[in-house]
C-alpha cells in the first residue's frame, strides 16, 4: 500500500477506534501532534492506539514508554507501521 493511502486509512481507523465522531480524516494533519495541544488525546487513548496497531497491523508495542516514541503524529505512526507490520 502506498504511504499516502496508508495515512488516510490510519486516520480513518484512529477516528473510528477512538470514537472521534466530530472530526474527519482531513482534520488530522500528518504532523499534528496526537497528544497535548494537537488532537488532544490522553493516556487511555495511547493504550487504545497500541491495541489498534496490534489488531490492524499485527504490531506489538511492549509498553507505554516504547509507545510514546511511535505515537507522536500520523507520520511517525505510518513510518513505524511500514517498517514493522506483520499484517
Amino acid at each position: 500500500m502506498e504511504t499516502a493511502q496508508l495515512k488516510q486509512q490510519l486516520k480513518q481507523q484512529i477516528i473510528e477506534f477512538l470514537n472521534l465522531s466530530d472530526i474527519i480524516p482531513d482534520d488530522i494533519k500528518d504532523d499534528k501532534p496526537l497528544f497535548g495541544e494537537g488532537l488532544g488525546l490522553d493516556s487511555i487513548d495511547s493504550l487504545e492506539l497500541i491495541v489498534l496497531l496490534n489488531r490492524e497491523y499485527g504490531i506489538v508495542i511492549k509498553d507505554l514508554k516504547e509507545g510514546r516514541k511511535v505515537l507522536v503524529d500520523v507520520n511517525t505512526m505510518v513510518d513505524y507501521i511500514e517498517k514493522n507490520r506483520t499484517k
Binding site: S43, L47, L64
Partner: protein, 395 residues
C-alpha cells in the same frame, strides 16, 4: 472485626502473617485465566466450592464475592458478640462495598448473555447489591442497608458512611465493610491499563512496576455510645478495639484512571480527615497508605504526604502482603490499622529497596513495637475517589 485475605482466613491468621512479614502474593492456583501462571495475585487459597462447604451455603447462585463477604462477616459479628435479635434490630445498619460483585462469574455471565437466555441461577447475582442483600436475608437484618461502589475507596467510604449513620442518630450500630474476589473482568481491565506487575509489587520503590490484584473481605462492627452502654450493662467482655475519629472523602478531579501528579485529591482527603478528627498532622503516628505500587499512585500519594506532613510519620503499604483487594482494601486496611493500634505494633512494608527519586520517602521495613495513638488509613480509587480515615486508640 472479621477479615479474610491472601495471608489468612481470620484476624489472628492475618496478624500472624503481618508480624512475620510473610506476604501472600503467588501465582494463582485456581483462577481460570490465561494469566494464572504469569501474573502474581493475592489469592485466598480456598476454592469456591470449599468456601461454600465451609460456610454451609447450599443456595444456588451465590458468587465467590458473596462467600468471601459471608466469611468475614461471620467472624466480625461473632467477635462483636452480636445476637440474632441485635442483627435483626432495625437500628442495626449494614453498609457494604464491592466493585466486582457477581462479575467474578465472567463465563456464566457470557453464557447468560449470548445463549438463548434460559437463565442460570446467577441472573440476579451479577450486580454489587447482591452481596449485601444476601447478608441481609441470611441474618434477617431489618435496618438500613446499602452498597457503595467508588472503586478502590469503596469500603473506606462504607466505613465513614456507617460511622456517620451512627453519629447522626440514624442507626445505633453499623456493620461496615467491603469485599472483592479475583475476576477475569478486573484482571483484564487492569492489564489493559498496563498497571499490573509481572513480579511481586514494590510499593514506594523506585523500580516499582505496577500492582498485584488481590481478593478478600473485611467487616467492622461500629457501635455508638448508646449501644455500648447497653452492652456494658449486659454480658461482659465486649471488646472495643478503637474509635473512628476522622474521615474525609474528596475527589481528585484530574483523570478517570490516574491521580494528579501532586496528589491533590489525596492531600485534601488526608487534610480533611485531620480537620474532622480535630488533630494536627504531628499527631498522626502511622499511615497505612494506599500504596498500590503503580508509578502514578505511589508518586502522587508520596507528594501529598510530603505536602501535608512536615515530618512524614512512619508508613507502610500492606498491599505487599495481600495485593490490591479493590473494593475490600479500605476495610481490610482499616482492620490492619486497628490491629496495629490494639497491639501497638507496626508491620514491615515488603519488597522495598530504593526510594522514589526526588521524594525519598521510605516505608517501615521491619516489624516493630511502638506507641501508637492515631493511625491514618488511605484509599484512593479510579474516578479520583479519595478517602482517608483516622482510627484512634480509645482512652
Amino acid at each position: 472485626m472479621g477479615v479474610i485475605s491472601a495471608v489468612g482466613n481470620s484476624l489472628a491468621e492475618n496478624r500472624s502473617a503481618l508480624r512475620a512479614g510473610q506476604g501472600g502474593i503467588t501465582l494463582s492456583r485456581h483462577l481460570p485465566t490465561r494469566y494464572a501462571g504469569i501474573l502474581p495475585f493475592g489469592e485466598v487459597p480456598i476454592v469456591t466450592d470449599d468456601l461454600k462447604d465451609k460456610l454451609s451455603v447450599t443456595d444456588p447462585g451465590i458468587t465467590r464475592t458473596t462467600l468471601l463477604a459471608l466469611h468475614a462477616f461471620r467472624e466480625a459479628i461473632a467477635d462483636a458478640r452480636l445476637t440474632e435479635s441485635v442483627l435483626s434490630d432495625p437500628a442495626t445498619a449494614l453498609v457494604g462495598a464491592t466493585t466486582v460483585g457477581g462479575m467474578c462469574l465472567t463465563d456464566e455471565l457470557y453464557r447468560d448473555m449470548s445463549g438463548p437466555c434460559e437463565g442460570s441461577a446467577f441472573l440476579s447475582s451479577y450486580d454489587c447489591a447482591s452481596v449485601h442483600m444476601y447478608l441481609q436475608d441470611r441474618y434477617k437484618m431489618q435496618g438500613l442497608a446499602t452498597t457503595i461502589n467508588t472503586a478502590c475507596s469503596s469500603s473506606a467510604n462504607a466505613i465513614q458512611f456507617g460511622t456517620r449513620l451512627v453519629r447522626n442518630g440514624r442507626a445505633r450500630r453499623a456493620i461496615v465493610g467491603g469485599t472483592d474476589s479475583l475476576a477475569k473482568f478486573t484482571i483484564n481491565g487492569f492489564n489493559a491499563l498496563q498497571i499490573l506487575s509481572t513480579g511481586h509489587c514494590r510499593p514506594f520503590d523506585r523500580d516499582r512496576s505496577g500492582l498485584n490484584l488481590g481478593e478478600g473481605a473485611a467487616f467492622l462492627v461500629l457501635e455508638g455510645e448508646e449501644a455500648l452502654a447497653e452492652a456494658a450493662g449486659g454480658e461482659a467482655g465486649k471488646k472495643i478495639y478503637a474509635e473512628l475519629t476522622g474521615y474525609c472523602n474528596t475527589n481528585d478531579a484530574f483523570h478517570p484512571s490516574a491521580l494528579s501528579a501532586e496528589g491533590d485529591g489525596p492531600y485534601l482527603a488526608m487534610k480533611g480527615a485531620l480537620l474532622s478528627a480535630g488533630l494536627n498532622a504531628t499527631q498522626i503516628d502511622f499511615i497505612n497508605t494506599h500504596g498500590t505500587a503503580t508509578e502514578n499512585n505511589d508518586e502522587a500519594e508520596s507528594r501529598a504526604i510530603v505536602r501535608l506532613f512536615r515530618e512524614p510519620p512512619p508508613f507502610i503499604s500492606t498491599k505487599s502482603y495481600t495485593g490490591h483487594t479493590l473494593g475490600a482494601s479500605g476495610a481490610i486496611e482499616a482492620v490492619y490499622s486497628t490491629l496495629s493500634l490494639e497491639y501497638q505494633e507496626i508491620y514491615a512494608s515488603l519488597n522495598f529497596e530504593q526510594p522514589i527519586p526526588g521524594i525519598g520517602l521510605q516505608p517501615v521495613q521491619a516489624y516493630g513495637v511502638c506507641p501508637l495513638r492515631h493511625v491514618m488509613s488511605n484509599s484512593f480509587g479510579f474516578g479520583g475517589n479519595c478517602t482517608s480515615l483516622i482510627i484512634s486508640k480509645v482512652n
